[in-house]
Point group: C2
Chain length 412, copies 2
Amino acid sequence: MAFDYTSTFRPNMPAAPKPGGAGPAFNFVGGNMDPALIPVADLIAAFTSVIAREGPNLAFYNTGTGPLGYRPLREFVAKTLKKKAAMDISPDEVLIVSGSLQALDLINKLMLNAGDTVIIEEATYGGAMGRLDALGVSYEGVALDEGGICMTALEETLKRLKGDGVTPKYIYTIPTIQNPTGTIMPLDRRKRMLELADEYGVAIFEDDCYADLIWDEKRPPALYALDAADSRDGARRVLYCGSFSKSVAPAFRLGYIVADWAALGHMVPMKTDGGTSALSQMVMAEFCQTKFDSHVSASTASLKEKHDVMLEAVAAEFGTSAEVEPAEGGIFLWVKLPDAVDTSALFPAAGAEGVAINPGPEWTADGPANKNKMRLCFGSASKDEIRTGVAKLAEVCHREFGVPLRSGNVER
Amino acid sequence: MAFDYTSTFRPNMPAAPKPGGAGPAFNFVGGNMDPALIPVADLIAAFTSVIAREGPNLAFYNTGTGPLGYRPLREFVAKTLKKKAAMDISPDEVLIVSGSLQALDLINKLMLNAGDTVIIEEATYGGAMGRLDALGVSYEGVALDEGGICMTALEETLKRLKGDGVTPKYIYTIPTIQNPTGTIMPLDRRKRMLELADEYGVAIFEDDCYADLIWDEKRPPALYALDAADSRDGARRVLYCGSFSKSVAPAFRLGYIVADWAALGHMVPMKTDGGTSALSQMVMAEFCQTKFDSHVSASTASLKEKHDVMLEAVAAEFGTSAEVEPAEGGIFLWVKLPDAVDTSALFPAAGAEGVAINPGPEWTADGPANKNKMRLCFGSASKDEIRTGVAKLAEVCHREFGVPLRSGNVER
C-alpha cells in the first residue's frame, strides 16, 4: 500500500464529526445571539464610511498601525471601559484579539506551564477548562453564591494550596454576569479578592465578556479598575479581557485584553497570527462610535424579555423540579434538577428531539457533583422557540428520568 | 512591595518594542501589498450586497454553517483551485483559516512533536522556521535552483536521514512562486517529489500562498492535484494551503487549508478560535464571485511593473555587486551581495535611514552561509519609493561594507 500521511499524525488527535446539516431546532447552547438584533443597516453605513476612508490600509498587516490593533477601536474600548467599568486606561493598554478565546490563549501562554494549578469558579465557562486540560494545568473550583465567588471559600482554598506548597498562577473569574450563574459580584467582594490576591501572591484573570448585557446597566468597578486605583509601587494583579461577541455579534471575532505593558509587551510577539481581521476592526470601530450604546440598550432589553420567557417556561414546564435563579443579565440560566436526572444523558435524548443544552458537567470543575445541572441559553432562540423547546425538554426529561411529574398543571 | 503579576510569567518570554510611530519610509519587507490596488468601491458593493442578505447570520459562531467556514467562500476556493491548479476538490475539503499562518499552526499541531525533524527549502519563509523553532522541531534545508527544490539534493537528504534512523514528518515546500526566490517548480520535479515522498514515507506540506501572482498566469498542477490523481488505495501525501492575503489584501486575514477529511477532521477541533471572522469571509466571497479574476490580473500586471523597476534599480545601484534573478511572480527579489556584506548588520544601518530589508539569515535554514543575501519586497512600495530606497540602500551598503564601488556609473 502507498504511503498515507495519516501515519504521521500525532497520537490521540481529536476528531470532529463530518460537518453539515442544520443546527438544532431549539438551540439553547453556545454564545450565539439573536439574528433579529444584528444592526444590518448601521453596519452597511459603517462599512461604507470607514472603507471609503481607510480601505487602502487593508493592504497592510495590522493596517500598518502596529500590533495592538486598529487604533480607533482601541480608543473606543478605553473610553467605554472608563465609562462603564471605571477603568482609567490608555488605548496602549488595549490589545485587540480575535475573540476572547484568543485572550485566554495568550494569557495562558504568558503564565502557564504543564503541571501548574489555577483557581476557577466551581461553575464556569467550559472553553476555559478545555484549554487548561489541553495544557496539562490543574484547576480548583471555588464555591459560588448569588454574589459570585465566596470569599471564605476562596481564602480556604488559597490557604490549603499554600499548605501543600502550591501557588496557583491565577484566579480565573467572571465577576460581572458570571457564566453560567448570571450573577454580579458586589464591590466589597471585589476588594476582598484583591486583598487575597496580594496576600497569597496570585494574579487575577478577570473575564468580563458578558458585562455589557446587564438588565439595569449598573455594575461595580472592574477588579482591574480597583487594582489600578489601589496599586502600590505600580504593582499589578489583574489581567482583563472583554469581547464584542455578545454586545454586537460573535462572527466579527473581536475581543480585547487590557493589561499593563509589562504583560502586553510579552503577549504581542506571541500573537503570531499576522493581526486580527482589520476589516472586522474597522467596521466595529466605526459602528461603535455612534451606535454602540443604543444598540446595547436595545439588545439588553430584548434579551431581558427572552430571559423572562425562559424563566417562566422552566417554571411552567418543570414546576418544583427545577431550581433556578433569575440572571442579572447575559444570555443563560443555570438550572438545577432533581438528583435523579443526569444531564449528560439528557443531552443526547433531548438532542434527538432537536433541543440542545449544556450538561452541567461540561460547565463545572467537579462534573460528577453537577450531573443534575444544565445551562440553558436564550441568546439566539425566539420566544416561541424558547416556550416550545423548554416544553419538549421537560417531556424528554420526564420520559427519561420520571421528572418533572407534572407539566403546566397537567399530569404527564 | 506588593505582589506583582510579572513574577508569575513564564521565563524567557519574548518582548515587543513599545508600539507606535510610522513604518519605514522605504518598506521592502513583509507581505504588505499596494494600497493603491485595494478595490475600495467593489468591496463596498460586495459588503452592501452580502450583509443585506446574510447580516443576521453574524449572530452565530461560524455563521451557523459549521466549522469549515462560510460555504460560498469554500465553494469559490474549490472552483478557483480547480481552474488554476487542476485540483478537483469539494468544498468540504476546504477549511477557511485566519490567514495562512493559522494553516501552519494547525498542520504543525496535527503532525509535530518536539524533537521531530522536517525538511524545508534552504531559503524559505521565515515565519515557518520561527514556528518550528518554537516547537523544538529540527529542520534540514535542501538546495534550490531556478526550478525550486533540487530533487537530487532532496533524495540525498532523505537517504542520509534514513541512514540516521530519522523519518522527517513533512517536506515544507513553496513550489509556485517560491519565497524568497520567486521560482516555479516544473511538472517533472513535482512528480518526482511525490515519488520520493512515497518512497521515504514523508508527507508534503505545499504552501501556495503566492501562486495567484504569476506574471504570465501559467503554472503546473499543484502537488495536491497530482497526488490525488495518482493516489492508490485513497492514500494521500499532500496537505495544501493558500491565502487571500496576496491576491486581495492581508488585512482580511483569510487563508485556507485543503486536505482530505482524514486530516481536516482532526484539525477542525484544534481550531479553537470560535471561527474565522465571518465578516471577512462574507465580503471576500461576495467580492470574489465577480471580481477576483479581473482584480488578480490587474494586481499582477501592476506588481510586474514594480518588479521590473526594482530589478532595474538593483542593477543600476549595485551593478555587478548584486546577483539577482527575475522572479516569475510574487512580491520579492532574492539578492546575493559580495561575501564582504553582512545583511544582518546592513539591516540596522539601512533601517536608520528608513530602508527596511529582510536579512538573508532570517530567511534561510543555514543563516551564517547566507549572511550576504537579502530579500527585497516590492509589494507595498511605490515605484518612486523603490528607486529612491534602493539607491539609499546601495549608499548605506557602500558606506558600511565598501560595496558597491560604483553606482549609476558614478564612482562613490
